[in-house]
Symmetry: C2
Subunit: 480 residues, 2 copies
């Protein structure tokens, strides 16, 4: 007799969801690593796993918060600068019971206040700490908000394609419908409103109520930065179509060009003024995992709600309460991120030096990687304007597509698996993010150490050009 937790009896939504970032390629890479092969894990934006050192200041503060008995140790000054001691005391005073006590389910009130102050400095408009909820990483917040929105399969969520598969997976898990809108590769992955309109009409003709729209800015996996004009169009579109806007802004610190600095959806909305600024429902997400801090393992995130009615905020609070509270150390990290050392603080210079070092290197790495891809046969790649990914298009020859079919693989999976076996470079096939029919990509992070980057790109080029040599018949490429 089949049992409740046998595969055939599982919740179908669980079975349906897909998450390629840790899918077939990652699992194969883990196997190869166990067998002793050197693997370069560029499948997930996980900077410390690729050797990035943590920033010293926040780690000193959190270490002291974890060991509060050190604050009275006469020797503490020998290993911790005075401003880190003061900061640790500050955060402990905000908690009731230190890092070992559950906080309020929305997060430590004092940290939410620091975040509100940061948002106000960033956007020029006050922010209400009562509308900021802390979470175990931004993903958990996205899941919670989508859970409030999605009532069944007739509810649709507009998601960019290519997209970060958190969205497709969560929508499947919650039994909703994903409504794709395509980003324009030839316009550096820009967002085209005409395209958006078509997506919504098509969904409606299929009986779907489109209820929300997701934007990822800077883009994942596509790395583009949205312009202010583009954001304004998006906000107007959401307002006209009665959509909640979910603004995934987790890469806001990582910008590698000067033409389009990061601008938050909330600031653009407030700048617009009038009824839209008081009515459009917006939820914005941020985290300590992304940005140049890269503190992924700490799982600290938050979301900020704009124009969400109090009764709904109460419901979201209630659901947050069921899992008691987000981890408190991750909350302190968020406080530190939005309130870093100031000029004159003992730790200021070191903090700035370390921060600049990482950000400037990421900018160089974005360039090395894009240039590297564009030097390869049948590969074209937009410049990584922000975030931490490169998303080259791989123009697979018909013979390669045929070979993939024979091997029972999606063509880009076939390519990425061969790349992995040949070079140890672990990427994510573009099909995991969604792409136009017949067009193939892969996603890689720009996170390997800067000195490793040239040999990685050489190794990639060697593999790719040989692959193309092998499968090309000189009669044509796959569709452009």
């Amino acid at each position: 007799m089949s049992k409740p937790l046998d595969y055939e009896n599982l919740n179908e939504n669980v079975k349906k969801c897909q998450y390629a970032v840790r899918g077939e390629l990652y699992l194969r890479a883990s196997e190869l690593q166990k067998e002793g092969k050197k693997i370069i894990f560029t499948n997930v934006g996980n900077p410390h796993a690729l050797g990035q050192k943590p920033l010293t200041f926040p780690r000193q503060v959190i270490a002291l918060c974890q060991a509060p008995f050190l604050l009275d140790d006469p020797n503490v000054g020998l290993v911790f600068p005075a401003d880190t001691i003061a900061r640790a005391k500050h955060y402990l005073s905000l908690t009731s019971g230190g890092l070992g006590a559950y906080s309020d389910s929305r997060g430590v009130p004092g940290v939410r206040k620091e975040i509100a102050d940061f948002i106000e400095r960033r956007d020029g408009y006050p922010s209400d700490p009562e509308l900021i909820f802390l979470t175990d990483g931004a993903s958990k917040g996205v899941m919670q908000i989508l859970n409030s929105i999605i009532r069944g399969e007739q509810d649709g969520i507009l998601v960019p394609v290519p997209q970060y598969p958190l969205y497709s997976a969560t929508i499947s898990l919650l039994g909703g419908s994903l409504v794709p809108y395509y980003l324009e590769e030839t316009a550096n992955w820009g967002l085209d409103i005409v395209n958006l309109r078509e997506s919504v009409s098509q969904a409606r003709s299929q009986g779907i109520t489109v209820r929300a729209m997701v934007i990822i800015n800077p883009g994942n996996p596509t790395g583009q930065c949205l312009s202010e004009a583009n954001l304004k169009e998006v906000l107007q579109f959401c307002y006209q179509n009665n959509l909640v806007l979910l603004g995934d802004e987790v890469y806001q610190q990582n910008i590698y060009q000067d033409e389009r600095p990061f601008i938050s959806a909330r600031k653009v909305l407030m700048d617009m003024g009038g009824p839209i600024s008081k009515e459009l429902q917006l939820v914005s997400f941020h985290t300590v995992s992304k940005g140049y801090w890269g503190e992924c393992g700490q799982r600290g995130g938050y979301f900020e709600m704009t124009n969400i009615p109090p009764k709904t905020v109460e419901e979201i609070y209630k659901v947050a309460s069921i899992s008691l509270s987000p981890n408190v150390p991750g909350q302190i990290f968020l406080g530190l991120m939005v309130n870093p050392p100031k000029p004159g603080d003992i730790s200021y210079e070191r903090f700035v030096r370390e921060s600049k070092g990482i950000l400037e290197s990421l900018r160089r790495r974005a360039q090395i990687m894009t240039d590297g891809f564009n030097s390869c046969r049948n590969v074209v790649c937009n410049f990584t304007e922000g975030a931490m990914y490169s998303f080259p298009q791989i123009r697979l020859p018909p013979k390669a597509i045929e070979a993939a079919k024979k091997a029972g693989k999606v063509p880009d999976v076939f390519y990425c698996l061969k790349l992995l076996e040949a070079t140890g470079i672990s990427t994510v096939p573009g099909s995991g993010f969604g792409q136009k029919e017949g067009v193939f990509h892969l996603r890689t992070t720009i996170l390997p150490a800067e000195e490793d980057m040239p040999p990685i790109m050489t190794s990639f080029k060697k593999f790719n050009d040989e692959f193309m040599e092998q499968y090309e018949d000189y009669r044509g490429y796959s569709r452009m």
Copy 2:
């Protein structure tokens, strides 16, 4: 026009779920605290919030893991004992990138191995690290497993009444059906199999497919410890009825009597041998939040799967991957909890002294509290055999029930609110956990500092006896 995140448009399952531990009483207590009233928060098992000091050893290790640069500091030995330095190096060597890197979505492999070793020592049977998944607190694991099981409202989960409302809330959120089975207050909250059978038949007659059974051992809110014989009956019952058993064993360290030491459902199952031991599907939960460590804010938990088929384990792994990884510091805490200092280690004596101090005090506090409640008019209370709660029955006079009705409150909510206003003691009304019709309780933790306990109980008795005086008409009590 109503908007997607307006209350009336929210997912109905979100609106339906209730979580009393942070419900009306907690919200009122938070308000009173803001107004300057001294509140004793005994609504939630949150030891550090009530002044319990963290254990020194694990905090030293985690502080060093957060500040790996200290490991090379010539002064580190002045503030950290050598064995904590060795341990920090050990855990850092298990991660790939330290605490700032996402781990495998199931948790750090080396920590899962330490947990498997602990389970083997505890139960006398080997445990497979591949079947142990780490989570951000045990609640997240419970939610994940229930999400795999529940397909719709026809799927029923057997849950004890009174129960910890994580279960009722999660079942509502996932759109399943809660099938209650009553614990026997007169038999010290024992679990009666006849009762269980009746619950299942009744659910089946309503068209519900009962798929899983939850046990909480030691009990929350009831504090009872299940005997080996009782566990055997439960396992057999689950086997006969094709149910997955979910064993919530988060209080396994906290036992305040010697007749019924903690015994895991898994050990009893393995001891039974035969087909049941190879077929019954069991998922067991544990955490660093509960137990005498009380490290709630760190959000470290795990679940262990027994007799769950590999294809299902893969699906659970896939869903875990969507939120990337549980927080890494919480994982290290779990490693430390299952692998504490050993005799001969520098930190051993201090660790044992601190541990004993907390556990022995909790045992005394369990006694003080039970005795205190039983000295009150119209209050009867079973002894807290384990966990960290006392769950006295409050025999409310008919006049009090009438007064509550007039005030528009459930009678136990009415009583607990008055208690809160009069004394600052923040409890959870029994109705938040479920109770038999016409019987009233409250739940309080046994966690206030030992020296605060006598005045708290005096203050409680004074309030209660005056309350009873006020509402009693000497003609009879509420139903016994």
